[in-house]
């Protein structure tokens, strides 16, 4: 019997803005499981806290309550909601990847090296990492003339493709995807779907948010519906 790689139990996230004295509820009472080789899609209206769930799992947000149990490659179980910072950093480098909506990278570095970075952090030799980066940029339809250019000047769609390549290159055991195709054309979206299918076949577990419901129908194996705080979907 296949075990889930991720088991989120009763996760909630609430923001406190001290300057305004406001409490902003986001995700609440979220339960979900993610399995190796399967893609779980988070669905629900804007404001239901879908991104907050992903950021909570990656610990970009501090969870307000709940447990986020991750099964490590070594076979242990780590609660990402409370794990020590160095444990989270090690897992980010080796096992958990996140394709966010925005790309942050060094101003002077070309797209190829931005994509290769996660492999370099793991100690992969430069030439090998660059080679893999080029293959992915090519697969995602990024023209070769852009590979050595820093992405700061790229269009939204080009930046997103660089961001995707960077997220996919390290082939983490768990991949979090926040609207990975939001600003892509249909052809590139098809290519991304193809890549994600390939990752599934290789046993990679994914938790994703998609802008278009038809993409959920196309690629998701499981769906989890979130409702906005204080209301129903």
């Amino acid at each position: 019997m296949l075990q889930p790689i991720l088991n989120v139990e009763d996760f909630s996230k609430t923001f406190y803005n001290h300057a305004q004295g406001t409490v902003i509820p986001s995700s609440h009472n979220v339960h979900l499981k993610v399995w190796p080789g399967r893609l779980t899609a988070l669905v629900g209206p804007t404001g239901a806290g879908k991104s907050s769930v992903l950021k909570g799992i990656y610990r970009t947000y501090l969870p307000s309550s709940g447990r986020i149990l991750f099964r490590t490659a070594a076979g242990g179980e780590v609660d990402l909601a409370s794990a020590a910072e160095h444990v989270v950093l090690d897992l980010r480098r080796e096992e958990i990847g996140f394709v966010t909506q925005f790309l942050y990278c060094l101003p002077r570095r070309g797209a190829r090296d931005v994509v290769a970075e996660p492999l370099l952090e793991r100690g992969v030799p430069l030439e090998e990492a660059r080679h893999k980066a080029e293959a992915l940029l090519d697969a995602l339809n990024v023209p070769e003339r852009l590979w050595s250019v820093p992405p700061a000047t790229f269009s939204g769609g080009e930046k997103q493709r660089v961001n995707l390549a960077r997220g996919l290159i390290a082939r983490p055991r768990l991949l979090l995807l926040d609207e990975p195709t939001a600003s892509l054309d249909p052809l590139t979206t098809d290519r991304v779907m193809g890549l994600l299918d390939g990752l599934k076949r290789d046993g990679i577990a994914m938790l994703a948010i998609f802008h278009h419901p038809e993409l959920v129908d196309r690629i998701a194996d499981d769906t989890v519906t979130l409702t906005p705080p204080g209301g129903s979907a």
Binding site: F15, A19, T60, L62, E85, L89, Y104, L106, R108, R109
Partner: protein, 285 residues
């Protein structure tokens, strides 16, 4: 990853100090100056650890005490209290000097000098603190190599050329004094000098402050390349949230000599918990 540094309860008070200094200063009192005796509580109860090859950020506004930690660790100041342990990753049993573990705040002058010359490096915001302006750029590097025990002239010159090339300083200018260089170039020479002995632990105090944006970017790039190539652990002191985001994996936020919040860098920048950090992040992004 293994720990390289462990700092516990580091405090630094300027002035004679009194029984009320700690209880009447800090973020809650909006000051780090003791109203009873006028002493300045630059840092109180600073605790953190650092792993090999990791970059830790210390951020805050001027006067928050963010530089105090690195100044004390690099022996530019003596702490008022606290302990720091350095676990030497380059320690070998067969050398006369050195030890596997150092009690950083409990050393005599010779021991401090040995750590500065062999294991720690510092890059200051102000190049005049890190460089000797009376001698050439190459001479500055040679000076550090000599202090670390390398005594062969040819070997020193070769190493200096290699370091300047590495930090993208034109080697044909290595015999010029740093005073004739641009600010960005002086910073590169300072980094080359700090790296001359390949220290496993490097302190960077506001190293990009005051430089043009393009020069800043190049220096940040260089710092990350060094970290990757040499696996150097670093403490980066800065008030610039952009520098924190690009360089560090964890960060401490300081105000009036206290750490008010610490965490993973992306978490501190996207989900700050303390009112002060929330204000800082909101006003910067």
């Amino acid at each position: 990853m293994e720990k390289i540094l462990e700092v516990s309860g580091l405090s630094k008070i300027f002035g004679k100090g009194c029984a009320h200094c700690i209880e009447s200063t800090g973020p809650g009192f909006d000051t780090n100056i003791c109203p009873h005796c006028g002493s300045v509580v630059a840092a109180h109860d600073l605790s953190f650890d650092l792993h090999r090859g990791e970059i830790l950020g210390i951020m805050g506004e001027s006067g928050s005490g963010k530089s105090t930690a690195v100044k004390n660790l690099y022996f530019d100041q003596l702490p008022s209290g606290g302990t720091a342990r350095f676990f030497d990753p380059d320690f070998k049993d067969d050398t006369a000097h050195g030890r596997a573990q150092w009690d950083v705040f409990g050393l005599n002058a010779a021991e401090r000098r040995w750590l500065r010359n062999h294991r720690f490096g510092m890059v200051y915001q102000n190049p005049t603190l890190g460089l000797n302006f009376g001698i050439s750029a190459g001479g500055n590097i040679a000076e550090r190599l000599l202090m670390s025990g390398l005594a062969n002239y040819g070997g020193i010159r070769e190493r200096a050329i290699e370091l300047l090339r590495r930090t993208e300083v034109l080697t044909e200018r290595m015999d010029e004094k740093p005073g004739s260089f641009s600010g960005g170039m002086q910073q590169r020479v300072q980094i080359a000098k700090a790296l001359a002995t390949q220290p496993p632990l490097l302190f960077l105090d506001e190293v990009t402050t005051g430089l043009d944006l393009s020069v800043q970017a190049a220096i940040l790039d260089l710092i990350l390349e060094i970290q990757r190539e040499l696996h150097t652990a670093m403490i980066v002191v800065t008030h610039d949230l952009g520098v924190v985001r690009l360089l560090t994996s964890r960060v401490l936020v300081m105000k009036y000599g206290r750490v008010i919040e610490s965490g993973l860098t992306d978490q501190i920048l996207e989900d700050p918990q303390h009112p002060y950090t929330q204000r800082l992040v909101a006003s910067a992004l």
